[in-house]
Amino acid sequence: MNPESLRYSDEYEWIGESNGVYVVGITDFAQEKLGDITYVELPAVGKKIARGEEAAIVESVKAASDVFAPVSGTVIEVNYALENDPGLINRDPFGRGWIFKLDGINQKEYEELMSYIAYRAFCQGES
């Protein structure tokens, strides 16, 4: 996915539309902060989640971190490739390191997320 076309949460998740569904992952800034990722716990397919709810867990050598749903929706697909190769998130956070896909999202919540430019500024304030 092209980072410039994505939306961002203040918990370092990205979300973007692809073929009518919304793909969610964590940002390059987040994976860089976490270090080598060693385990990902994926949400159950079919699960309805609300914005801000814990959707997945990403563990690195350093610590375990929650991945929150950036918007409300239904999990329709998860990235099983991460089970055997969680390092995909480090190597390709906006591509093959995606975590789950949502359908039926809350559009208003989506519009409220940060743009790429706003997110860049946010990260500069955090680093």
Binding site: D36, Y39, E59
Partner: protein, 360 residues
């Protein structure tokens, strides 16, 4: 934050830094997993210049120091190292230390950075103890090819040194102390060189293609896999050596603080054990996870991480005696991570004890 003499060398290699006991140390260079696996297969070097070093001269000083530890220092053979615990008045562990007996009269003592101020106060109060920490850099050379690389660099001492022995020698024309040991479970050497020679030694090591600079993150996963405790995290002033997995290092037949209490504990068997644990998959136990046996709290995880060479989570936990036997199945953390107690070291393929052929 304090900087080691190698700070600039690390910056030049693109290290990410972290604060460790007030020191700016490299957390990682190329990445923790990569560095970890490299140490298990080739050679990694670690900057441990934040650690403390002391020279103890004379028998009275050795006896005085020995009486603060669980080791029989005067009984140590020259050239040999001993891992031991420095104790407070009640037998709690101020620090775990390594003592190398250099010769009849002198001992070289290596301590950790965390409790160094307190350790320095205690040790330098003993007449005959000199603090070398400020002017000494420590470089750990760790991995199955460590000896090969050091011999290529004319470190002839590496030809002879057996596991847990050491000597006062020179390397690249620089005077140094050397021990064969380390914190990774692999064949390794710890080099103690004058601070102003540290970068010359570090860079000369990096000239060899097998050698990779490694940071604290890999050091932590490597030591956790081989079930080595970390001072101040897996034990502290509230923990006796019995409760820190150090029973086999206790020389009972000499006076040391807390001895009577520890004898009672040992006889009753009623004390918490530090045990090695592994998980069933890549999910890792984490520091301070509650540990449960059949739903009842029996202790907590003191260290935990993903073990890159094991492929599963690995850690240390302090648990009640009922939960300490090998193969005991435990649950930990907020989401019932399954753990199994294993005999230490959790990772058993380390090369640290390898017998070397001194003709090669």
């Amino acid at each position: 934050m304090k900087k080691t003499p190698l700070f600039q060398a690390h910056e030049a290699k693109g290290a990410k830094f972290a604060d460790f006991a007030g020191w700016a140390l490299p957390l990682q260079f190329s990445g923790a997993l990569n560095e970890h696996l490299h140490v298990r297969e080739q050679v990694g070097i670690f900057d441990c210049s934040h650690m403390g070093e002391f020279l103890v001269t004379g028998k009275p000083a050795a006896v005085a120091l020995g009486s603060l530890t669980v080791a029989d220092l005067p009984g140590l053979s020259p050239g040999r190292c001993r891992y031991t615990a420095l104790l407070n008045e009640s037998g709690g562990i101020i620090d775990d230390i390594v003592v190398l007996r250099l010769d009849e009269d002198r001992y070289f003592v290596v301590t950790n950075a965390g409790p160094l101020d307190q350790v320095r106060t205690i040790l330098t109060a003993i007449p005959g103890v000199e603090d070398l920490s400020e002017h000494t850099a420590k470089i750990d050379v760790q991995g199955p090819l460590a000896r090969e690389v050091l011999l290529r660099m004319e470190g002839e001492w590496a030809r002879q040194l057996a596991y847990w022995t050491g000597t006062e020698t020179s390397f690249l024309g620089i005077p140094c102390y050397v021990t064969r040991g380390g914190y990774t479970g692999e064949l390794g050497y710890e080099l103690f060189v004058p601070a102003d020679s540290a970068s010359a030694v570090w860079n000369a090591l990096l000239d060899h293609q097998e050698v990779m600079p490694c940071g604290l993150a890999a050091r932590d996963t490597l030591r956790t896999e081989v079930s080595y405790p970390l001072s101040g995290q897996d034990f502290g002033p509230e923990t006796t050596p019995l409760e820190a997995g150090m029973e086999r290092f206790i020389h009972w037949d000499h006076p040391f603080p807390g001895r009577d209490r520890m004898i009672q504990m040992r006889e009753s068997g009623n004390y918490n054990r530090l045990v090695a644990v592994i998980s069933e998959d890549r999910r890792a136990p984490r520091h301070e996870f509650e540990v449960r046996l059949n739903g009842k709290r029996v202790g907590e995880v003191t260290s935990g991480t993903f073990g890159p060479s094991l492929g599963v989570g690995v850690g240390l936990a302090r648990v009640e005696p009922s939960a300490a036997a090998t193969d005991t199945r435990l649950a930990a953390g907020p989401r019932d991570l399954n753990l199994t107690v294993v005999s230490p070291p959790a990772y058993k393929k380390g090369t640290c004890r390898i017998k070397i052929n001194t003709n090669e």
